[in-house]
Subunit: 257 residues, 2 copies
Amino acid sequence: MKTTAITNQKGGCGKTTTAVNLAAGLAGRGYRTLLVDLDPQGHATLALGFQPDALEQTIYEALVNPPALLGPILLPSSRLPTLQLAPANVLLSGAESQLMRMDGREYVLRRLLGEIAGNFDYCVIDCSPSLNLLTLNAMVAADELIVPVQTQYYAIEGLRQVMETVEVIRERFHPNLYIRGILLTLVERQTLLSRQVEEQMRAYFGSLVFRTVIHRNVRLAEAPSAGQTVMTYAPQSFGALEYQSLIDELTYESPNC
Amino acid sequence: MKTTAITNQKGGCGKTTTAVNLAAGLAGRGYRTLLVDLDPQGHATLALGFQPDALEQTIYEALVNPPALLGPILLPSSRLPTLQLAPANVLLSGAESQLMRMDGREYVLRRLLGEIAGNFDYCVIDCSPSLNLLTLNAMVAADELIVPVQTQYYAIEGLRQVMETVEVIRERFHPNLYIRGILLTLVERQTLLSRQVEEQMRAYFGSLVFRTVIHRNVRLAEAPSAGQTVMTYAPQSFGALEYQSLIDELTYESPNC
Ligand SMILES: Nc1ncnc2c1ncn2[C@@H]1O[C@H](COP(=O)(O)OP(=O)(O)OP(=O)(O)O)[C@@H](O)[C@H]1O
Ligand SMILES: Nc1ncnc2c1ncn2[C@@H]1O[C@H](COP(=O)(O)OP(=O)(O)OP(=O)(O)O)[C@@H](O)[C@H]1O
Ligand SMILES: [Mg+2]
Ligand SMILES: [Mg+2]
């Protein structure tokens, strides 16, 4: 199983939109895929059509009750047979203080995912907009990171903080962690600011920036209100096609290992 | 001094843009205004033209070293004489675990602001996209909250979590706290989704939703890259005028107390 965490502490840069549509696109191609919602907002859970507050068990129970397993809390996606979800709801915000007190607190999610790794080809983790212990768990559990970045001024500044955090994690917890790529999201063809930021990002980070760019496309914002991913809600929309081209870039260059 | 915290755990909904331009607009009208950056991203600090990582002292030092005072760390705005900033940078992310260990940890910011209340008419606090102890401190220190909400699907769900958190805070820490209003931000006149969400918000929350709506306007996104607020960067832009009309709504209905 290859595990990718979608992370950036900058809010609203398209983490959930990327995690959900990446997982759905991989499942649509027949890969056995696990989507992990690690954000107490529960937006990845909502995006797959579930009501977070109606769930009896979520990732919270598996994280705070070792040696609980992930298997029993997984939900099958109604529209994509090879996609499963580890859901979250607001209770997850209580995990932070409980994890703090555990031995090996940074490795809790990694241990959980290790138990079910044989059942999946890919795992995608959606993170909350912060660099807290939950997000740390996601980075330690992941093989690679995708960092969505909006082409806006504040977004560039935030990238440095992400990079510095990754360095700390490589030194202290997970030497093999690497940034798979920076994904430019919510790109607006018509504004100078967006074009300028894209040029700056490519100048600074070179090939670390994916060739695929995700433009602002209203179908991507509508899909969650229908409880669907864009892959089933509007499969021919620009949004869906751009996420498909991201998957081409990801799967072509790195055969599953 | 009247203290307003700008908060919503949903990322990218315009918290910083609202906090910075509200504070600048109040200062532009001659009110003595304090802007508090309580987000380790330091975006409100950037928006006023400062380099967060170059600062010797920030709000972090005042929070974790009681009985430190706020006065010595305040920075005057270069363009608006009656605006001062309590800056932040990434070190602030270390405050969470230090505050956890303090007595009266929820009241630390409130005590700090109490010391300098006589020097200002208004105080505006920018919060990070989370419901952690720092944000709790902002809510306990505030007289009122403004909750920016993007007219998108995920945004509606998040509002319930904010409301529930406010109820807990009123019961346990601060009975007089109230939500001054919900501010619709990043509104797109041309999409059906945006209009539908606005209708739903007004149907659910009625007069709690400000009459003023902030439309998507590229000048608002450009201003921070020039180290300015929109009030000096593009004072006649729609973005500036809409924030001015928000201030009209705020100051007309609630004479400063
Ligand atoms: N390419 C896009 N085109 C149009 N809308 C988009 C696009 N990507 C994301 N959105 C919308 O923008 C908003 C922010 O995206 P999203 O919630 O995925 O970001 P996030 O980084 O997960 O936010 P948070 O920091 O709160 O977790 C959402 O309302 C989403 O529907
Ligand atoms: N009305 C608007 N029109 C155009 N761009 C806007 C508007 N409001 C905010 N923005 C831009 O959208 C992005 C998100 O806004 P902002 O950073 O203020 O949100 P936030 O809630 O403070 O984010 P975070 O959750 O990361 O703290 C920024 O790049 C900002 O410049
Ligand atoms: Mg999200
Ligand atoms: Mg902000």
